[in-house]
Assembly symmetry: C2
Homo-oligomer: 210 residues x 2
């Protein structure tokens, strides 16, 4: 399975396929055609077939796709065949919210520790995971094979964290701070820019009003 030259647009649709297939699986739906799936998921049948064929022929002419097989295949493509060690930096409300999401854990994203600079938070246990002093960050991350860091600090703290991360073997950052991190190494960065998203809401709202 050589995932070469797959466009980002395709990749970003994969989790949605995964989500819908899981739902069908839970509802005991055994097979699905691109046409039926199209109706549910809102992509064209043609696009669905194109998307899936980037990774291999998972379907069968005249039949469609086996839901369970396709679900598993997409899981594999998304890297859900193993666990990932994770830490959260920033143990405020958002960090705590993420620490409490059991769905991340179920998918294999295993939270090993949280970090903060605030003495009031250090020592707390959130969902059985301890909040450590940020001083311990680099050592902990190196000693525990941490691969992904969720950055839940304020805007101002985020770049510092990114700089520290680049001195460790951490492979990926999931960034919630409203800033584009400057990264020299090949660390993967995926951003959740909440404000950017909220501003599109007001944009569309404004359009509706006119």
């Amino acid at each position: 399975m050589k995932d070469k030259n797959i466009s980002v647009a395709v990749i970003r649709r994969l989790p949605k396929y995964h989500r819908y297939l899981k739902e069908m699986l839970d509802n005991d739906i055994k097979r699905i055609s691109s046409k039926e799936l199209s109706k549910m998921i809102g992509f064209t049948a043609s696009q669905i077939r194109q998307d899936l064929n980037n990774f291999g022929g998972f379907g069968q002419q005249g039949y469609g796709y086996n839901v369970e097989d396709l679900y598993n295949e997409i899981g594999k493509i998304l890297g859900l065949t193993r666990n990932y060690n994770v830490v959260i930096v920033g143990a405020g409300n958002l960090g705590q919210a993420l620490a409490n999401y059991s769905s991340f854990d179920k998918l294999g994203f295993k939270l090993k520790a949280m970090f903060d600079v605030n003495p009031k938070l250090i020592g707390l246990k959130i969902n059985n995971v301890e909040v450590h002093d940020m001083d311990k960050f680099e050592d902990f991350v190196k000693a525990n094979d941490i691969e992904i860091v969720y950055i839940c600090t304020s805007r101002d703290g985020a770049q510092d964290v990114a700089d520290k991360i680049q001195k460790t073997p951490v492979e990926a950052i999931w960034n919630f701070a409203p800033i584009d991190l400057k990264i020299k190494s090949d660390v993967i960065v995926e951003n959740i820019h909440l404000i950017d998203n909220l501003l599109t809401v007001s944009y569309f709202l404004k359009g509706k009003m006119e």
Copy 2:
């Protein structure tokens, strides 16, 4: 300013322009050319000029763009010239995190109330905003000219909230539940699908490893 037939791709870049221009403004940068901005923001100069010209000629040949003017113009395009009344449904960690973000407030998104079904949360005050019983939702929303609802419930509660919303004049939903809401009316829905985003992280991580 008739924002007609502007593609969504353009719209989703606008908040990033807004963010960078704010930063320049804070750093007393008075003017910027598309070429310089390109270097900072990572879009091509050509794309920047194309994007901006969808909304009007904000620049000046031989000079570039006035940072403050452009910042204000983009703010206007994004609908940041007035306040929006907001409520949050779901007063758990995530709801509380959003309630505490002062940046939303500063941009004009004014949180008027929170709602939950959990008796332990009802009556609490988060950042001076009270958590009400979900029973009061419809009445409150109608009586207080609420335009945007942030849905921070679990997956299972979200569609119920969406159904309730459709019985009110609420115009837009910012949805954090991992589900695609079924909406019959023309309510705007903007999703933050955290899991979908996290799965792209594991996808790219997997690609790196190979």
